[in-house]
């Protein structure tokens, strides 16, 4: 027990970084994913192809590889490489945000598909503009359908932040590994696991609340 309290402050420092990376990724990837889901629906075909290629790459390659590429690989690109030398946190946020935006875009796209054609027609005959139709009628319905998928990804992201370990970002996993190596005692892994569980529990609670609120709105 005394050992646990001894290593706790160091691990909690790491947990702070984990939470920071998680929050920053969400704040960036949710709006970006929404934007991408709109681009996929655009009538300008080349734009649709470009976004589909982007989504394919993000979903088709390991997140760990993307992380390493952003941190170690980008600086080697001729000419522009010098401008792409990021610190660890920036590189991690950059890679995570781009990757998660692709997943969120797909979830939003599914939500858009769930809005019946009749909703668009009702808006048209009432004289609503395309923008008004989107913001007042389509998006609120789309979000309700997308929310469970968003919750799922958000929880996955808590655990995925541990991948930033490969670029030596000082997050929770990194702290746990360092402690285990230093003390030759695996207890730090247990404590790290508990901290992840607590974070996931809190996140689940918040999204459950959101989901019930959206459901209440329509029932």
């Amino acid at each position: 027990m005394a050992y646990f309290t001894g290593i706790a402050p160091f691990l909690l420092e790491g947990a702070k970084m984990t939470l920071f990376l998680w929050a920053l990724t969400l704040v960036l990837s949710l709006p970006l994913g929404f934007l991408v889901s709109l681009l996929v629906r655009s009538r300008f075909r080349p734009l649709v192809w470009l976004t589909e290629i982007y989504i394919y790459i993000m979903r088709g390659t390991p997140l760990m590889l993307q992380l390493m590429f952003v941190y170690y690989g980008l600086p080697f690109i001729p000419v522009v490489g010098v401008w792409l030398r990021f610190n660890r946190l920036t590189a991690a946020v950059f890679a995570f945000a781009l990757n998660y935006a692709a997943y969120f875009a797909e979830i939003f796209r599914g939500g858009f598909l769930a809005v019946p054609k009749g909703q668009y027609e009702a808006c048209q005959v009432l004289g609503l503009s395309r923008m008004q139709t989107l913001t007042k009628v389509v998006v609120p319905q789309m979000i309700r359908v997308a929310l469970p998928g968003i919750t799922n990804e958000t929880i996955t992201l808590v655990k995925d932040t541990s991948l930033a370990y490969v670029i030596a970002l000082a997050e929770l996993m990194h702290a746990a590994k360092a402690t285990v190596s230093r003390d030759s005692n695996p207890a730090a892994y247990v404590l790290a696991g508990l901290i992840y569980l607590v974070i996931v529990f809190a996140v689940t609670l918040v999204f459950k609340k959101l989901e019930t609120r959206y459901r209440l709105m329509e029932k």
């Binding site: 909703q119 009702a122 009432l126 004289g127 609503l128 007042k136 319905q141």
Partner: protein, 249 residues
């Protein structure tokens, strides 16, 4: 003056012609019942009038302006003006599930006409009262019966103060015991001389409420006239066949 005038309308899906040379006009205060077998083009015709579908030929002139002239559409703005004074009620109601009854009614006039909140509130209360749903003003559509949803949809269309109201089989997705309350509202509008085109399978309603019946068959207007002429003394054989088959059901 005609509220809407349709001349030589043609429409095809691929090489299947669904509307063949349709012409008619509707004067102010008229209630037109459009009847006919399914697949005869009734709904498509209605959807063309309010620009939910594009025609391939012919002209549509509404009191708001020209929508299409000899198969050529004007710009988006002109189309908007031409259909501005029309409202539509759908078979599937199409209420906004994310908004309660009152907000369903107020959304469009608030956004499109930029009306003041107290004016909207007054009209909303009056129209909900008219369709008998004043007590449901804060309910969400999912909690209403089909008949109630359709009455809300009618009130929502009336909020935009249309000069012409289109009904696309307004009772076809309702349980039989709920059709009466919806038809009653439409009857009441007819009594108030609201100009309407109603695509319907309810022959009793067509007989009582319509000032004119249009019978469509295979994309054409096969017969047209006062309800007692078309329904009681049809001149065409196909009208007779259709009426006999609906009576049997």
């Amino acid at each position: 003056m005609a509220v809407i005038e349709v001349k030589h309308l043609r429409k095809a899906y691929g090489d299947q012609e669904v509307l063949k040379d349709i012409s008619f006009q509707v004067a102010e205060g008229e209630v037109i019942a459009v009847i006919g077998p399914s697949g005869s083009g009734k709904s498509t015709l209605l959807r063309c009038l309010i620009d939910l579908e594009k025609v391939d030929g012919g002209s549509i002139t509404a009191s708001g302006g020209v929508l299409v002239e000899e198969g050529r559409y004007r710009g988006k703005k002109e189309a908007g003006q031409a259909t501005e004074k029309m409202g539509m009620v759908f078979q599937q109601f199409n209420l906004f599930p994310n908004l309660n009854v009152r907000d369903n009614l107020k959304l469009a006039p608030r956004l499109v006409k930029k009306e003041k909140e107290d004016a909207l509130e007054k009209r909303c209360a009056r129209l909900l009262d008219k369709v008998g749903l004043a007590h449901k003003d804060t309910a969400y559509p999912a909690l209403l019966s089909g008949g109630e949803q359709q009455r809300v949809a009618i009130a929502r269309a009336l909020m935009m103060e249309p000069e012409l109201l289109l009904f696309d089989e307004p009772t076809s997705s309702l349980d039989p015991e709920l059709t009466g309350e919806v038809l009653e509202v439409i009857r009441q509008l007819a009594a108030e001389r609201m100009t309407m085109i109603v695509v319907t399978h309810e022959m009793g309603f067509a007989r009582e409420a319509a000032s004119r019946v249009i019978f469509m068959d295979q994309g054409r207007v096969a017969e047209e006239g006062r309800p007692e002429e078309v329904l009681d003394r049809p001149r065409q054989e196909r009208t007779r066949l259709f009426l006999r088959s609906t009576l049997k059901q």
